[in-house]
Symmetry: C2
Subunit: 312 residues, 2 copies
């Protein structure tokens, strides 16, 4: 099955398009996990890796029956050195064994044969063992040029993996470069058009509409924090699946992301990281659960997000 | 010492501004190294990692007395999984022990606290043990916005490390997005202006001109394959050190990069990867050396590049 077919299968199975971001910041981890990791005879980066592995595994066990997708943020694992990268591999493997789709959020990008190496490293696609890091899909940065996206697309097509190219990010300063505009539109619109073309080409001929709702496996990252642009890009990028960060802790609302989903609830996955995995740190969960019940808070926050998106 | 002070110290010591790119492609490695790695009871990604480690160590031993800088390409190590990332750490450590400046070519970029994690992972600065990957400097991608460069700059300043922000890359399709232009200039000129401001701010007050030739530690990647833009950017970006890819195998000539160096030979480092590390695969070195003399070919190609740059 192609990436988009696997993704849609999971979305239909769970009845929602929630993506849980695995961003294991050390200072926010449950005390029991930090204490346990620090009790081992390891230097700090390696003990962090042990803690990130356990924390993410336990989050995965809670959310796997509820949501279609998880998105590990590679930076936090890379910060822990080789031990962290080993933990990341275990986390991705475990998530896939639990039936989850895994988007590796690495934002890689480089030229020619270097891009090929990154694609080969991350994009496992249907067979988790086809790449060393075993992900279903990868986030990619387009700054170096349209030609530098081609090796990623080629590997994604060959392995039935997915890609999400950064188009409009969710940070406050995103406009500084992404909104530079000429007669043809803004930079992010230019990137959007290239991604739409790559996506269209990778879908190939045939009954795309019958098998995957009209969407391909080459997608785009579009932030929820600029709802006007999200609507505009949804119309501009026919058949391109979105990965939408910015819901929840960053300020995006269910109403903001509604425009990105079609009647069938397809067309995008909506990510929340801190809002779910560290739910115990904020209301209403902090008052309802004891600190050691952090997994119950993760479950409730996940259910609440699903309900919030379904209510709109 | 700040990054730029350490870099200039090495440039003066060696009398040149050559950067040797460590891009260890498996299919191009010397047969003896591949055979030795494959004789071990390891799965392919791990045996590649063993070979990359040995190959890079031996290249470092050859070039350390000759050039100021090496630039490992992170993608090739990442392709080998956790074993590859462990090999990369060893390679960086060995290069620094040999006195070389190490630029980790990872092209990382992300928002807020995620950017902080990447900066913390890579930017060791003066003390190689201050970050898990131990580099003097890191390449960074600006697409997500000027605000996303700030955490990298903050860590670089705190640890006396360096940064090279992608401005104009050396690939054929670089113009597709980097040349989108409004009334204020092209995208790459906008990025150039932001980098110049960050660089200027990070230099701070005082006698910058007396200690480091007027340059700061926040730099830019500008390809040698667009010589007109290289000249224009050199004038536009006062005090910003350049990392220039594209010399040699990619087509950039010594005359093309001349404009980026000032009278003292400062202002840029010029990278060559394949042209040096796989010199044995091309003329005149293929005819002059036997395959097992690949290290002699590396040395001769390095000396030839130094002479080529000095002759202009």
């Amino acid at each position: 099955m192609t990436y988009i077919e696997r993704l849609h299968h999971r979305i239909k199975l769970t009845g929602n398009a929630v993506c849980v971001g695995l961003d294991p910041r050390w200072e926010s981890l449950p005390t029991e996990i930090r204490d346990s990791a620090e009790s081992r005879p390891l230097d700090p980066p390696s003990s962090w890796a042990v803690a990130y592995r356990e924390f993410c595994m336990r989050v995965i066990n809670v959310v796997a029956p509820l949501v279609p997708v998880v998105k590990p943020q590679v930076a936090f694992f890379e910060q822990c050195g080789p031990a962290g990268m080993l933990a990341l591999r275990d986390v991705i493997r475990h998530a896939r064994q639990q039936g989850l789709i895994v988007i590796a959020d690495a934002k890689r990008g480089d030229i020619g044969s270097t891009a090929e190496a990154y694609a080969d490293a991350w994009l496992a696609g249907e067979d988790p063992d086809a790449a060393t890091w075993g992900a279903d899909a990868l986030t990619v940065n387009p700054y170096l040029g349209a030609d530098t996206l081609e090796p990623f697309v080629k590997t994604a097509v060959a392995r039935q993996a997915g890609l999400y190219v950064l188009v409009r990010t969710s940070n406050p300063g995103a406009a500084r470069f992404q909104d530079v505009s000429d007669a043809g539109g803004t930079l992010f619109q230019h990137v959007a058009d290239v991604v739409t073309e790559l996506s269209s080409r990778s879908r190939g001929e045939g009954n795309a509409n019958l098998t995957n709702g009209g969407y391909g496996s080459i997608g785009a990252v579009v932030g929820a924090t600029y709802p006007g642009e999200l609507i505009e890009l949804r119309q501009r990028m026919a058949g391109v699946p979105f990965l939408i960060p910015g819901y929840g802790a960053q300020g995006g609302t269910a109403a903001d992301v509604r425009a990105a989903l079609d009647k069938q609830g397809l067309g995008a996955v909506i990510n929340s990281s801190r809002g779910i995995i560290f739910a115990i740190d904020r209301e209403p969960y902090r008052s309802r659960f004891q600190p050691h019940q952090w997994e119950a808070a993760v479950e409730q926050a996940t259910r609440d997000m699903i309900a919030d998106l379904q209510a709109t």
